[in-house]
């Protein structure tokens, strides 16, 4: 277990040492989204009855930040270790592939939650939000961050160059998060796009996370959590199989 803990703590230290870039910068980005979209759309849009648009937007922004940063942590760390070659220290140590996977995912979850909490703290100035079902919110945050951390591990293993990783981030992760209903409810979409949104796993994470704040959601939270858990199990399974085989890391 010491191997797991060491790798986990090393991964934490890594992003904490550059926290201006890894925590403060994404918090600022989210606040800019809030200022712009909140300013432009406040009063024009009411998604849930009696809920101001800014209040609706904040949980979505928080969760989007959690997801993006969880992905960024494991993927960029693995990629850097591969590029600089210092991954050998982990590969030559008596650390199992499962310890390797869980250490990267756990550190990604911490980074995601830390940035999400940062956004929550600063947005508390704009709107007073109350958590009506905090366990749902926490559950979705943890599981969503875990899923994206695992996706980051997957992308980090498979990518051979920085630009491949960037492509994955820009053409897969970013569109899926932006189109997940952070800025709108999918009920406001034309039927085709609404149905398509149901195929986006990010939608369930945002929707479920938001349920904890308003007690209302597009899909029942239990169903959403099940879908997210299933997606996590699938990605984790693929990662573990790849790590066990040594795919691209040992070959």
């Amino acid at each position: 277990m010491t191997g797991f803990w060491t790798l986990f703590i090393k991964e934490l230290m890594r992003f904490i040492k550059v926290s201006v870039q890894t925590v403060a910068a994404p918090v600022l980005t989210s606040l800019l989204y809030l200022l712009i979209f909140g300013q432009v759309l406040e009063g024009r849009l009411e998604v849930f009855e009696g809920v101001r648009y800014t209040a609706f937007l904040i949980p979505g922004l928080v969760m989007m930040t959690v997801l993006q940063n969880s992905f960024a942590n494991s993927s960029s760390s693995l990629m850097q270790s591969k590029m600089t070659g210092n991954i050998v220290f982990v590969l030559l140590a008596p650390i199992s592939y499962a310890e390797f996977f869980w250490a990267y995912v756990a550190a990604s979850v911490v980074r995601g939650i830390a940035v999400g909490a940062g956004v929550m703290v600063f947005t508390a100035w704009f709107v007073e939000l109350r958590l009506v079902a905090p366990f749902w919110t926490l559950g979705f945050a943890l599981l969503g961050a875990g899923l994206l951390g695992a996706l980051g591990v997957l992308a980090g293993i498979v990518s051979e160059k920085i630009d491949q990783l960037a492509a994955f981030q820009n053409f897969v992760i970013l569109p899926l998060t932006m189109l997940s209903g952070v800025f709108y409810s999918i009920h406001s979409l034309p039927p085709f796009w609404r149905e398509l949104s149901h195929a986006n796993p990010f939608f369930y994470m945002i929707d479920g996370f938001r349920y904890g704040f308003f007690g209302a959601s597009d899909v029942a939270p239990g169903v959403s959590l099940g879908i997210v858990a299933l997606a996590f199990a699938m990605v984790a399974g693929i990662c573990l199989a790849l790590l066990k085989s040594g795919y691209k890391l040992r070959t």
């Binding site: 230290m13 070659g85 008596p94």
Partner: protein, 222 residues
């Protein structure tokens, strides 16, 4: 060594300390942090006493809190060696440790490696410099295209593959000088007798010791 590299990988990896050929490091950490993390990977929680000792031997104490990025190439190489030693492995693999290393560090390095060897560590050294291998190693394996073409004790290898060669500078009766090369001791007696009969004077005799380069060339050319 009795540990299966797949089934019992934890024990197998604990027995090995590897110093990679490239100067790899994690730019986020200091020397001490790097060594603590490395210890943790091998399941060692409180390893500071040994870390301090290793750093002292490798002249790294003054750089303990310096970031890895700020170190010179030679210093980074020392940290790599320290990393390989944190868990006191019985076998240390040095992958071309002296490639691009200055004279002073090379001397220090060999001194330290000899000490480790005396203390009971087995050292596996890979190198392109055959004189290094000849000077430091007791057993040598030669590889060509990934296959072992020779594996033996150093002196056996030298004797088996390269017979001694004698170079003689001689002065003939007309006063002209010639250089003769005689292969192996067995023919020496006859050759000398032949020279004496022709009244040739021997000005100088040199015995060429076989070296690994000869061995290597013979093995790889055949």
């Amino acid at each position: 060594m009795g540990a299966d590299a797949v089934a019992d990988y934890r024990r197998a990896r604990r027995m090995l300390g590897v110093v990679p050929q490239e100067l790899v490091f994690d730019p986020f950490f200091t020397v001490r942090e790097t060594l603590r993390i490395q210890s943790g990977y091998f399941g060692l929680r409180d390893n500071d006493a040994w870390i301090d000792e290793v750093m002292a031997h490798l002249d790294l104490t003054g750089k303990a809190d310096a970031n890895m990025r700020s170190l010179s190439g030679g210093m980074k190489r020392r940290v790599l060696i320290a990393q390989a030693l944190v868990h006191k492995p019985p076998v240390i693999v040095l992958d071309e440790p002296t490639a691009g290393v200055d004279v002073e560090l090379r001397q220090d390095l060999w001194q330290f490696v000899r000490r480790l060897n005396r203390d009971g560590h087995t050292i596996v050294l890979t190198t392109h410099y055959l004189e290094e291998a000849e000077m430091h190693c007791q057993r040598i394996a030669m590889l060509k295209a990934g296959r072992v073409v020779a594996l033996d004790a150093t002196h056996e290898l030298l004797q088996r593959f390269s017979g001694s060669r004698i170079t003689a500078r001689v002065v003939a009766r007309d006063g002209r000088q010639h250089v003769l090369q005689i292969e192996g001791y067995s023919t020496l007696e006859g050759e000398l007798a032949r020279l004496r009969a022709q009244g040739v004077e021997i000005a100088d005799i040199e015995l060429d010791r076989p070296d690994l380069e000869d061995v290597f060339l013979r093995l790889t050319s055949s």
